[in-house]
């Protein structure tokens, strides 16, 4: 069986700047791929192409074996490709069920013709998905603002899984979290793997990436410079790939 998601020869330019240059990568179901690179290496641009924020100038995207055209974030969402953004994309003034159902609210009819929000249903469904992912939120009625960073992340993940995401893009999932919370997020990612979700994780936290990723893809200056199976490499090698071997050589002993 082929990849769950495969991008082939993607190139994205901004004016004269080539942000992503002829990059290909594939992710299997139940696999976590770590996308690594220094600032400006093109990681963010690449995932924005996959999530429909930017159209690619060249190249193709295959999802579940078929070539797809993702021209907006809504296209990606409709296919089951969800992005968990660094700034989380949650409305902090709303509670957990409202966020899980944001944009896809469950309605019910009252008096036969008025369509109103079905809070009870949304709350029950939210409780179910949180239990399925073994996530603990103190009170579902609390606004997101009252939750910790890890809990917010968990809500964002539950939201995508509830809506049948098959492929998750996680941008710095452990940044700005306490140590205990980082561990919880990693546990959650491992649980998602067992549910057969394909995941790309962008992170600067080398330690975390090594804990969750099965494979690593390293980018530098818009190009993919290496791909490694996590078990067969180590942090030193990856760092030298990220900063560029020449640089390491120049600095060498």
């Amino acid at each position: 069986m082929g990849y769950l998601l495969e991008v082939k020869n993607i190139t994205k330019r901004f004016g004269g700047l080539v942000a992503v240059n002829n990059v290909s990568l594939g992710v299997n179901t139940g696999e976590v791929v770590g996308l690594l690179g220094d600032n400006g290496a093109g990681k963010s641009t690449l995932i924005k192409v996959i999530s429909g924020v930017y159209p690619a100038d060249e190249g193709s995207i295959l999802f579940q074996g078929k070539e797809v055209h993702i021209s907006s974030p809504m296209d990606a969402l409709a296919m089951g490709i969800e992005t968990i953004y660094q700034d989380l994309a949650l409305a902090e003034n709303l509670n957990t069920p409202s966020n899980i159902f944001l944009g896809r609210e469950k309605m019910k009819k009252v008096l036969g013709f008025l369509s109103v929000l079905d809070h009870e249903y949304m709350q029950q469904e939210s409780r179910k998905i949180l239990e399925k992912l073994d996530i603990l939120i103190p009170s579902l009625r609390n606004r997101i603002r009252a939750l910790s960073g890890g809990q917010r992340q968990a809500v964002a993940i539950s939201r995508s899984i509830y809506w049948d995401a098959k492929f998750l893009i996680m941008d710095e999932p452990t940044a700005a979290l306490g140590v205990a919370e980082q561990k919880k997020v990693i546990d959650t990612i491992n649980r998602l793997k067992s549910h057969g979700i394909g995941i790309v994780v962008i992170s600067h936290q080398m330690h975390d990436v090594f804990q969750v990723a099965d494979r690593l893809v390293i980018m530098r200056r818009g190009e993919k410079v290496a791909e490694r199976v996590t078990r067969e490499t180590n942090a030193d090698e990856v760092v030298s790939l990220i900063v560029g071997a020449e640089t390491v050589a120049q600095r060498g002993p």
Binding site: A91, N93, N95, L102, G103
Partner: protein, 350 residues
């Protein structure tokens, strides 16, 4: 939660209600007749125009914007509807037809300022403060041109009958009639219940409250105010939504202007000039944050009642209305400080 925190939280969430109760106690003990049916109805009657403007402002403030044009859109609508109804009567229509037509046309025209506001804010990314400030000036200018600087008074008298009418007229011991007083009865024996304009206002406010609280549209309004990026990523068409918000605001302001025209049988360019401040104050007293994402219509109406009771109470006590402005300013500062220092008390759950 400690007992003290519980107490502070209690006050934090309910200070506006307590404040209104205090006001009512103060004025009913000092100003005679304040609690009589008449006194209550006068306060409610006086509140209709501001209640609609505060409702309009609630929608906009929940999205994190502000609509400074509502007061002058209201004046504009009063002028347009007054001019139109007078003109249509002159053109040979009956007063009833003329009024109905004038009101419908004004409601349609009244959507335009909101459309301009919405397009400026949503599409052209003009800060709401500036966009609505500009539109305020434009509508005021057009109103002045239409009236040549004076008031439009050429309104059919039927407006007075509707605008100052009551739903129920009671003649104690004799009978009851609806919408118009029983023939031959007037004066002290006639008891008027439920001013028609109050009922119309309550209907529209209730509808607006329902939309904001219970519908998908309302939910998206809160989401946009909370985190517009989240709303976009959730697939909400935020541009279209914001345009609709400003159009709704303008519609309610127009309705307010029409009610003003019916109540005062006049169109005045500056009918709502003091309401630009008052409508925002009412919403903020109601606990809405000017950063968006919080606030409800009914709590804004609570703010309206606080302002209206204050104004009427001071009038009944014979205090100059200048003092009202000072009081409103002080209350506004108080409300904003509570929001800044105790946001977690007010906004923990929804």
């Amino acid at each position: 939660m400690t007992r003290r925190a519980g107490f502070t939280s209690f006050i934090g969430q309910r200070w506006a209600v307590l404040f209104l109760v205090l006001e009512l106690l103060l004025f009913s003990s000092t100003a005679g007749g304040f609690f009589a049916l008449n006194g209550v109805q006068i306060v409610l009657f006086y509140s209709t125009t501001l209640a609609l403007l505060a409702t309009a402002e609630t929608f906009v403030i929940v999205t994190g914007g502000i609509d400074l044009s509502v007061g002058f859109v209201m004046g504009f609508a009063s002028v347009v509807s007054a001019k139109l109804s007078g003109g249509l009567v002159d053109a040979g229509l009956t007063p009833a037809t003329a009024l109905v037509l004038a009101i419908l046309i004004t409601l349609a025209i009244g959507l335009l300022p909101g459309l301009v506001n919405g397009l400026l804010v949503a599409r052209l990314k003009v800060p709401p403060f500036l966009a609505t400030f500009a539109v305020q000036g434009i509508t005021y200018g057009i109103s002045l041109l239409l009236t040549q600087g004076s008031a439009a008074v050429d309104v059919p008298n039927l407006a007075n009958v509707i605008g100052n009418g009551y739903i129920i007229y009671l003649v104690p011991g004799k009978g009851i009639s609806f919408f118009a007083p029983p023939p031959g009865q007037s004066g002290a024996l006639l008891v008027d219940v439920l001013p028609t304009m109050v009922v119309v206002t309550v209907l529209f406010v209730a509808m607006a409250a329902f939309i904001l609280k219970r519908t998908r549209f309302g939910q998206h309004t809160y989401a946009i105010g909370g985190n517009i990026d989240a709303a976009v990523r959730a697939g909400i068409n935020t541009n279209r939504h914001l345009v609709m918000i400003y159009v709704i605001s303008s519609f309610l302001a127009t309705l307010s202007g029409i009610i003003y025209m019916l109540e005062y049988v006049t169109g005045k360019s500056d009918a709502g000039s003091s309401f630009m401040l008052d409508s925002v104050v009412a919403v903020v007293i109601g606990g809405a944050s000017l950063f968006g994402g919080t606030g409800t219509v009914w709590r804004s109406i609570l703010g309206v009642m606080i302002l209206s009771v204050l104004e009427m109470g001071l009038k009944m006590l014979g205090v100059q209305t200048f003092d009202k402005y000072i009081a409103v300013g002080v209350i506004l500062i108080f409300a904003v400080l509570i929001d800044q220092f105790f946001p977690e008390l007010i906004h923990k759950e929804d």
